[in-house]
Symmetry: C2
Subunit: 285 residues, 2 copies
């Protein structure tokens, strides 16, 4: 079923929020889209590209009377935004977000919002290294996967609204426990990202290495081009799982270091063989 | 100047050796190409695809009378092959190789070959995850970069032959000291490769994570698909530089680990910002 909304409020009109606005409009899924930003210049850009119908600097004002509110700020600001808008949410309002970490945000909502919860967390696995409403695209979510969080106190109709919303903009929906989400994302995305930055730093200061740099280095450092403040927030809001992942990685690196130091051919070949097999298993190839 | 060879001997007719044969023939740069393999089945494939004219199981027999010999075995076997063919090389024979590590191989040649040296090391930065003569391609080296080693005792005409050879098959040539080559490759290729295998291993055993795995993970583990025995040899023949690189990486990971454990937002943002800038500097963007 395609669900149409009367008023959708998007808090944070960057790449993700702006693309949601464009997708909702392109698919005729919302009568009115309100955008909230903390700088007028971002709001003007979002209006220019047609991602929102009305611009607000005040999240509360924009949230009053909305039937769906999507918090699209960086992960570190989501909890504060939820605190800010909670008083103006009506009984029917459904709230979600787009942050890449879910444990802390869902635990905060669980503690502070009335039950049954009408906040249901989301993590759309879409985006690019670009940012800002000027790069927003109506098809950003088409064919992507959005994770929607599970939880004991969620209002069933709110869960349904959030699932329908993401399917409406073209995403497939997977539901998962927020803590498990964070562990899996630490291992498949957050730790790789930290490492990508470390690798880029490792190659710097060695003189002009440009002619020697192949596609491997380029591939492995591509995600180091993400926005520093986004990744800072991810590290701060998924601390335990990322620390555990980094510790496991350091242990594995130390083990292969010892194999190299000992010139152990069989162990090294096995190490690389297991890496190869691990990749195939993870990717299901 | 385009240099034409009478007889070129290619020891090891896999992807790299087979592609050299095809490139030489396609460009009319060699009258006869001899291929050496340790299995008849590989030699038959190389004959089938037209990469070589004559097949040999014995490297000495194939090397006698050749004007150019290219050792295309895995890095760990190059020194033994050089020892094997040295007695049959005539005064005019020029020898090179294609191994990804250069320090040990060049030091070995320096110690064991007559001076002025007619062995000049090469590292063509071309290839793919595929292997075997059946994937050989005449244009594998076109537009690529080949590193040719420098050294005090090299015969000037042998250096010129090796440079002309690589330019003949379409590569640009950069000359560099073998030890410096190994340090730079450790930081831009070998350590990233070790890390890619570690990352793949980190994500395994967490249940079915396929729907959650994005392009970042895919990019960062792509090079983990290399052949285990090739990377084993690279680790064994570039030990010191790879160990130093892994140590630097573990230190950097431990530092960012401490920032995350301390929930230090400014340090973390700076860490990611420096990673971003390092990538741009290394790639010259």
């Amino acid at each position: 079923m395609t669900r149409r909304f009367e008023t959708v409020t998007i808090i944070g009109v960057g790449l993700l929020g702006g693309s949601l606005g464009l997708a909702l409009k392109a698919r005729g899924l919302a009568r009115a889209i309100r955008g909230v930003g903390h700088r007028q210049v971002s709001l003007d850009k979002a209006l220019d590209v047609g991602a929102i119908d009305e611009a607000y600097l005040d999240a509360r004002e924009a949230s009053a009377g909305a039937d769906l509110i999507v918090v699209c700020t960086p992960a570190g600001l989501v909890r504060a935004k939820l605190d800010e808008i909670r008083p103006v949410c009506s009984e029917g309002t459904v709230v979600t977000d787009v942050a890449s970490t879910k444990g802390e945000i869902c635990a905060h909502a669980q503690k502070t919002w009335p039950k049954p919860l009408r906040f249901v967390g989301s993590h759309p696995m879409a985006g690019s290294e670009k940012f800002g409403p000027e790069h927003a695209a109506a098809n950003l979510y088409a064919g992507s996967v959005t994770i929607v969080t599970l939880g004991e106190d969620l209002a069933p109709d709110a869960r349904q609204v959030v699932r329908d919303f993401w399917r409406g903009v073209g995403a497939a929906v997977i539901e998962i426990d927020p803590v498990r989400h964070d562990v899996l994302m630490a291992r498949t995305s957050h730790v790789p990202h930290v490492l990508s930055a470390c690798l880029a730093r490792l190659a710097v200061g060695q003189g002009d290495v440009r002619p020697l740099v192949g596609s491997g280095f380029r591939d492995m450092t591509r995600i180091a081009a993400g926005r520093p403040e986004i990744w800072r927030d991810i590290c701060l809001t998924n601390r335990d799982a990322i620390l555990a992942g980094i510790d496991a990685l350091i242990d594995d690196l130390a083990a292969v270091r010892d194999m190299i130091a000992a010139s152990a051919p069989d162990s090294l070949e096995e190490f690389f063989r297991l890496g190869w097999e691990a990749r195939r298993e993870v990717l299901g190839e």
